[in-house]
Subunit: 177 residues, 4 copies
């Protein structure tokens, strides 16, 4: 980036820039078009945290997923990752990047890099859950990974695992006074 | 870490674990004993952000520093980094770590690692300001770096730069609706 | 990503995947088409490290930049970041991402995230130099930042700062036995 | 850290600073006194990578672990993490840090932060394996986690998982030409 520029007046209006609320709506819509509902992510959160918090409800997990998706850093990561997946599907990336993203090349790593940016929002305790979810492919993460027919989810499966891991970390922090 | 363990009852009491509020008070006390006030950190934040937000007040900068220090991840990083500085001063680390920390060895890197954990709490836009502050040694950061007489601030100067960078990033996020 | 899949036979052939040497050539070509030579990056490295190593030569800086660009993680970051810049130039990203990348929105953050992945390759000591270079816009970084006429360098200026910071960190490590 | 200082003459001698080779020997010795052999870490690497590389030998895994431990950033992380474990065992940390480290508090997070610094050395593809190993507690990682009698392995189990994950990532990179 450049150094932050004063791109709005003192009153805080930023004409031309979407608000965080608008971005959140767009992110939710985009995830749905890629086959991911917030409820499906919340299911993963519940599966991971239930052993530690027996009274955890689906509503609390869903609330936590929503709060993670309210963060601008998370919104930007999802918008960017899904854009790369979609561009790869449409053949709009140049080679060799096109083949690398299309094949979900195991050495690519940028998908984990974006995921890390998401997970870090609630601190590093999300790292362990992210890695576990990404490897074990719990719930919707596994369904994304198995989807065929030209669909590319190289970034999306990692992003969903990262949002779930961040939401789980947030619950762990919230439960401690 | 281990996998999170259910170390408290359902009502949320965690006997034996300090609350985030208690940790915040301890962090503030510890910083003061090491020569760092929240006001001095707020001055750095104001210096960095004033060009972009002409109406920014010292009170808003101080509030932002306080909010950063309310985060448990930040509290843990400060407690740990200052502990290592203090142990090095007292000669309680073993060699070769003792000499490495005492001399602020330029290849050490763990001080930046802890700082990164702090900066990440408000997203990656804090990275640039952290690096700039750490190199230019603005305000209190420079005073820590120049302090002599057996004092070790290997971790503290980076942590202060990171808290200031995170507080600046938080202001940038807050100012956008 | 998915869990690493056995996508090649035991002898190590990976038909369809570019070798690291091929990727390096492609990265160098791509940088040149975006106005960045390895020599220009090496100039930044020399500017940063000369005060600490008076005998440092341009050839050593250039060698270090080349070694950084031999790393697959770095190659992937450059390919991906430049792809996003170029897609934004051509209007091939969807809104709101298109406007965010085109305007180099100061809250975007993903450009720093990619840069961090590059810098980390030689350890965290590169962080400070990255932030400094990104803010002070030394040499080619400033020229990229000032370029106009529809060109988008949102990712590229950060990536160049990160490659220079990593190359500088590598020299610091190499000079110590 | 401070800005890198010219702490050695042009010929590269750094009197008073241990060489990377000396640090490696010290790290290996320290790990052994904490119950961790390089062979035990190599076993974890083989367990993780064998499904993808059927011809992988214990010798190749051990070589990869050794190469990871040759990196100064890794050496510093191990020295620092084990120092904190040991200081907690001896009661030499102040409260509340002492109780936090002793109990391996699930919200602490600094152990993952140090682990991340290790894993990043071979790029972000190690993240997934790190999280998986840390959660599933494969081999020596599980033995460290179960050890009792006043021993503190809050940092060590994460560091071992991170070294194994980095060594596995290195093998994945090496196997591709």
């Amino acid at each position: 980036m450049s150094v932050p520029v004063p791109m709005r007046d003192v009153a805080g209006e930023a004409p031309g820039y979407p608000t965080s609320v608008e971005l959140r709506a767009e992110v939710e819509r985009l995830l749905r078009t890629r086959g991911v509902t917030l409820e499906a992510i919340a299911d993963v959160v519940c599966a991971v945290q239930a052993p530690y918090f027996p009274d955890l409800t689906p509503a609390e997990c869903l609330l936590s997923v929503g709060t993670v998706l309210d963060k601008r850093e998370v919104q930007h990561a999802v918008l960017t990752g899904v854009a790369l997946d979609t561009l790869a599907e449409r053949g709009l990336l140049d080679e060799p990047l096109l083949s690398i993203v299309r094949s979900d090349d195991s050495l690519y790593g940028l998908d984990e890099v974006l995921a890390l940016a998401v997970t870090n929002i609630y601190g590093s305790i999300g790292l362990t859950n992210f890695g576990y979810l990404d490897k074990e492919k719990v719930g919707i993460i596994g369904r994304l990974n198995r989807s065929k027919g030209g669909q590319v989810h190289t970034f999306l499966d990692d992003l969903v695992a990262a949002v779930a891991a961040a939401a789980a970390a947030r619950i762990a922090h919230q439960r401690r006074p």
